[in-house]
Structure formats: C-alpha cells, structure tokens
Amino acid sequence: MSKSPVAARKPSIKNKNYQILCAVLFLLPTFIVLVSFSYYPAASAIGYSFTRWDGFFDPVFVGLENYARLVKDPIFWLSLRNVLLWSVGSIVVSLIFPYLGAELVFSVKGKRLQYVYRSLLTLPMIVPAVVTIEIWSFIYNPEYGLLNTFFRGIGLEALVQNWLGNSALVIPSLIFIGFPWISGLNFLLFYAGLQNIPGDVLEYAKLDGCGGFRRVFAIDLPLTVSQFKLALILGIINTLQNVTTPLLLTGGGPGYDSYVPGLYMYYEAFTRSNFGYATAIATVMFVMILILTIISMRIQRKDA
C-alpha cells in the first residue's frame, strides 16, 4: 500500500503552531479594536451606572440609586411604551414587505432579470440613514411636505394631516418611514433563504400542482422560518437602539409622544450631564436586548 499524497503533506507540530500564531496575529488587530471600542465602553458603562457622574469630574459611587430612580421614573416607562409600539409596527412591516419583495424577485423568470431587480432593491441601502430621515422630514412637513401636497393635489383634503405634530399619528408616522420597506437587509435575507430551497423540492411541488400562493404558504414560508427569526430579532434590536430617527425628526415630541429610551439616554448624558443615569438606562436596555436574544435563541434551538 502506497502512502497517500495527503498523508505525506501532514503538517508538523512546528508548522501547526506557526499557523495558529499567524491566525492569532491576523485576528489580534480586530480584537484590540473590538475590545477598545466595543467591549470596554459597554463594560465600563455598566460600572458607571452605579455612579453619579457628570462626565467631567470623577464619578461618585451611589449603588443602586440610579436604578431605583429609573423604576419610579414615569418618563422612562412612557418611553418604553413608545418604543414597544414603534417596534411592533416596524417589525411587522419590516418582515412582511421585504418577504413579499423577495418572493416577487424570486418568481421572476431569468437569472439576469432577477439580478437587475435584486440590485435595484438593494441600491437604496447605500443612502445614509441621516439623508433618509431628512427626506422624510420634508415628506411629513405639514405645510409644503410631499405627502400633504399629494393629498391636496388629488382632492383628498381630508387626509391632510399634521403627521409629526399629532399625538396619535407620530408613532405610525415613524413606522411609515422607509415606505415601501422592501429594500435592505431583510430583503436580502429572505431572498437568500428562498434561493436556498433545493431546486428539486420546487420541481416536485410544481409537478404536484403546488404553485403560486399555495407554494408560498406550503413550501417557501416553512423553509424560510429561520430567516424570519433572525430578521425578527434584528428588528427588535434595531428599533430599541434607534436614537437617530427620533433625535433628528421629532426630538421625542410633540410632548413625550415619540420619546424613546435611547433618546432619553442621549438627552440625560449629553444635554443634562447625567452620565450615571444615562448608563443605567443603557444597562437596562442591554438586559432587555439580552433577554430577547436568549428567548429567540432558545426558540430556535427548540425548533432545531
């Protein structure tokens, strides 16, 4: 029996150590940056949440004082309620519409045409979020905004609204941002999920007369459940962390109607110099996101 060429090239222990060293060295810069700018600030934020700190003088340890204040703080609970409403609305649209988009593109006959549509639907991702928010600020302007001008133009004056100034409409208006909500990461996720469905499954389904909507419900949806779960958890995290949209678009107003915990944290830290309290808010959000992530992973494991 002759020695196989693979066995002949089996790396020596010295060679193996060299490879590990190389891997570690290549990964090291990333980890240094990650630890410096991600783990350390996050971990130190938890520490600061037990202090009274103005961001200038040394922090003073106050134990659980910030958390005790948070529990009794009506503004925090109000902001939490707002963000939950916003999350529910945002997640529903950010799951349904990208999925519909992915199904539509997936149904297009011809790979080249699919590629064109896919590119067109992912192109808006390169527009910076701030630009999008500014555009929507113009769209919602009650006087000269695109939306009200459109309604006035087609004679539907009754639909003209003070979109961001009406207490009842401000959260729905925030949810509506990004209409038709098709482009972006979720679209790519679903599209990739649909592409992963084995071709023979789709072939058999076709032979069995399972096409159109029936195929979507009987085959596509069950086989893209993991994409839905991922999109769901990412959606929750994104909305809970979204500070930029309310900061630039509504300032949390009118009143407290679009006030969210992230915004509250920002104002406490950078407007009111209460870094200790701000980090307590951040830590509570961290715990909430952690719990949601654990729940999501448990559900996924059960399904597996």
Binding site: L34, F37, S38, Y39, P41, A42, A43, A45, D54, G55, F56, F57, I75, V130, S137, Y140, N141, P142, E143, N162, L164, G165, N166, S167, V170, I237, Q241, V243, T244, L247, L248, L249, T250, G251, G252, G253, P254, G255, Y256, Y259, G262, M265, Y266, Y267, A269, F270, T271, R272, S273, N274, A282, T283, M285, F286, I289, L290, T293, I294, M297, R301
Partner: protein, 536 residues
Amino acid sequence: MFKLRKIAVLLLSLIMVASLFAACNSGDSGSTAPTTSSQSEAAGETPAENPSTDDGGETGDADSPSPAGELTYKGDITFYAQAYQPVEPTEAKPNPPTAFRTVAEAYQALHPDIKIDFITSVPGDDYNTWLKTKLSAGMAPDVVWAQNSNLTGETFPKGSMVDLRSYMDSRPNPYVEGNTVWNDLFHQSLQDQLYDSNGELWQVNGDFVATAVVYNMDMFAEAGITEIPENWTEFIEVCKKLQEKGHTPWAFPLGNDADSMDKVTWLGRLFYTNYYGEDFDKLAVMGSETSLTPLEVAIAFKNGTYDVRDPKYLHFWQFLKEQTAYMPTDFLSPTQNGKAVLNMFVNENIAMYFDGSWATNDLKLANPSFEFGMFPFPVPEQSTDSYATSVSSKNSIGGPSAAFQFAIPSQMGNKSLSDEKLEACLDWLMYITTPENNSLIVNDLGSFVPTVVGATAQPGSEAILESLNDRALMLEGGTMTLGVTYLDAYYRTYQEYLGDKITLEEAAERLAPLAEQAADKIITDSGVDVSQYLNS
C-alpha cells in the same frame, strides 16, 4: 455547545450596547465649519489704543487674582467667537463679520508673541455636546462661547469654566482709560442676570438680544391696519382683521428643538416679570436687585412664592392656547422650528411671527418681496388678564443671551491652561470689552446691541442701549434657572397642553415635583446654608 451559545449571546449583547453608545457618540454634528478669514477690514472704527501695562504684578491664579501686568505667555490663544467668527464671504453669506479679525490683529500687534487663533470646524447644531466632550478630555479651546444659562445650569459642570468674578471685581481693564474695576464696564442690570448661586460669573458678556414680532407691512396695509398693537386686546384685533382678509395672522415656533424652547422662555419673561414683579422683594431673598440668582429661584420654589400649582404660574399657557386660533392649523409640530416659521413668513403664509433681533440678517438674506417691520410683543394688561399687575415687563423681552458670551475653560477642561496663558486669556477678554472694540465687533454683525458701558449702538438700537440704564426687572419663573431637565419637561408639557392632551391642572401636577427636585438640587449643589431664607 450550550455554553458556547451562552457566551455568544453575552458577546452579542455587549456589542449591541456598545454600538448603541457608538451611535450616541457619533451624534449629529453637521459642521458649519467657518473658515478663517485673512480679511482685516476696519468697519469704520479702529480697535482700542495701546494698553497701559504699568500695573505690574504677578500672573494670576483663580484664588488670588492680581492686576494684569506684562504678559509672559507666548503662543496661540484658541478662540471660538460664535456668530462673530470672522469668515470668508460665501454666496449664502456674502457679508460675513470681519471685525473680530481686525481686533485680533490689533491685539497681536500689541502682543507680538501671542496669536489669536479663531478655531474652525465647530459643529453648529450640537455645539454643547462638542464642547462638553472637549472639556471632558481636557482639550477645550482657550476661550469659548457658551450660553450663560448652560453654565449656571446642568449642561456644563460647575468648575469646567474659570470663575471670572474675582478678576472682574478686583482688576482694572488696562485698555480703558480711567477704569479701576473691570466689572464697572458692564451694565449691572445685565450682570445680575448672569451671576450664579454663589455669585460666580462664568463669562464676560458684551451684547444684548431683543425679541419682537416681525410683521408683513403689505399685509397690514391690505387689512387696513395702520397702527401697531401695543396690548393684547389690540393684538387680537389685528389678528382678526388679518384673518378676515384671508391671511393666517401669526405663528410661533413650537418645534422640538432648543431654538423653539428658547423662544418660550423669552415669551415667559414677559408674563413672569409682570405677574411676579410686585413680589420681587419676597423673591430676592439674598439681595439681588433686578433679577434672581438660581439659588434665589430655588428658594422661591421652596417657599412657595413660585408655586407651579398656583394657577398664576401657568396662566399664560392658557392665554397662548387661545392665540392658536390665529395660527396655522398645524402650529404644533416637531418640525415647526424657527427656520420653518421664518420660511412661512418669507413665503407670505403668515403675516407675523415671533423672533429675535438676529432675524434682521436672516430676513435681509431671504430678501422677501414685501416690506417688513418689527414691534415689541404686547405685555400683559390688567384689563384682560386677571393676574396682570402694573409692573412693566417691556424691557424683559431682551437680555444678555446672544453671541458675545465668552468663557475660559478651567485647567481641568483645558489641560494646556497655565497661569501665564490664563493671564493672556483674561487680557484678551479685557481687550475685546473696551467700548470701542465691543462696538466695532457687535455692530459689524448687526444682529445685536453692544452693551459695554460707553459702547455705541447702531442707528435704531440706541433706545435699547438707553433702556439698560433703567435697571428693569427680569423674572423668568425658573424656566431657565432650574436647569435643562426642568425646562425640557416644562416645554414638552406645554406642547401637550396646546395639543389638548392634558389639562392645565394635570400639567401643574406633573411639573410641581420636578420643580421641587430641581430646586433641591440647586440648593444642595450650591453648598449654601439657606435655612435662614426658608419659610418655617
């Protein structure tokens, strides 16, 4: 496998929180980035003459100030001059201010070892966050602009700026002949509005901003309005006449931005000064003469002289709610800020709006197709307002809250600040607060009135300068002095009241404990034993 997942979950969550912080830090820092101008046009006046440096003396420290002497500091003084920043002309700003450059060059000629370095790339919208970050890192510029209410309030920690009071009270300004005490060069009615709880003074202030109603003269003429309204009854009459002609009478910025919040505090002064002016002796428990220190405001809330639950305190909200009948239907919107309202006025969608003296330049730039004018906002009158008193609040509609507000970050906020540099910074501040230089700088911009004693105002603004000698009362009901937390709650609650979301009583119930907390904080932070001033 399970452990690995747990670790992954933990790491993932940590990254999420970290990224949230990263998002917060990135903020919105749209840079207005003024560029350094090399222009040195003397705008009709010349900077102050040579200094008299005969006083001698050591370079000072905050504890034992000494008279200014020969400067030993050699190097740059980094300086942010806010609206007075000398910049290159642009299409949007064809005639920018240049006088500060002229003054700086004259100063540099006197002190060849010192260079005034006007810093660039300062964020316009989020300046306070930028400065706070710089202060925290010990990298603040040597001399900065800062709103006094942010220095006495919560925005900037006490001690982040040098207390200038001891220097101003004990030194002469050597650039002003005959001056023995620097502080004497400032109108005391304005200085009273600047002192902090323990008498600290965090800035030198050299301009005055006035607020008024800007109106479209053509629309007034069309509606047959020949005289400007002087009281609320006349103002409502004007609104009705404009409405009859199909015009929306006026708008007030009610957006969710700092500018709109400021406007409400401006308007509040008109009412609080009038409503509480007769109680001034009860309010000024520590002897203030024309306005209250933050500590006196806090004591007023503790004593119940200011009481949020007292119907008088929020009465003017009701008054303004009635006014919304004369405003656009969408008067309440987070995007309805000062700029939006200005646009509405320029586009002839409204006949009047509330703005500051800085609006003149904005309006000139916008170049509207109609003639516009300004008149003072009507003051409360006893015939129509049950809480109105005979106290005049006409002069309280302006104040020292404009752009000539300069402070020196302390050594903690600016690690490069040595005793020598501090002396140089103080000297620079003295140089710019001579009547001549103050007039030159402020009049060059044209938005405000110079306030150093002996300064000359532009034609049309002399009356404002003269009114500063009246030592008129100014009360703001704690909206500014109780700090940004209270102001934010006050403003948002006000919005909810205007939007019919809550009643005046509910608003009072919400704000009362917040006022109490803010008052307690001010008293605690001051370290002053106020027991003798509190009602038993």
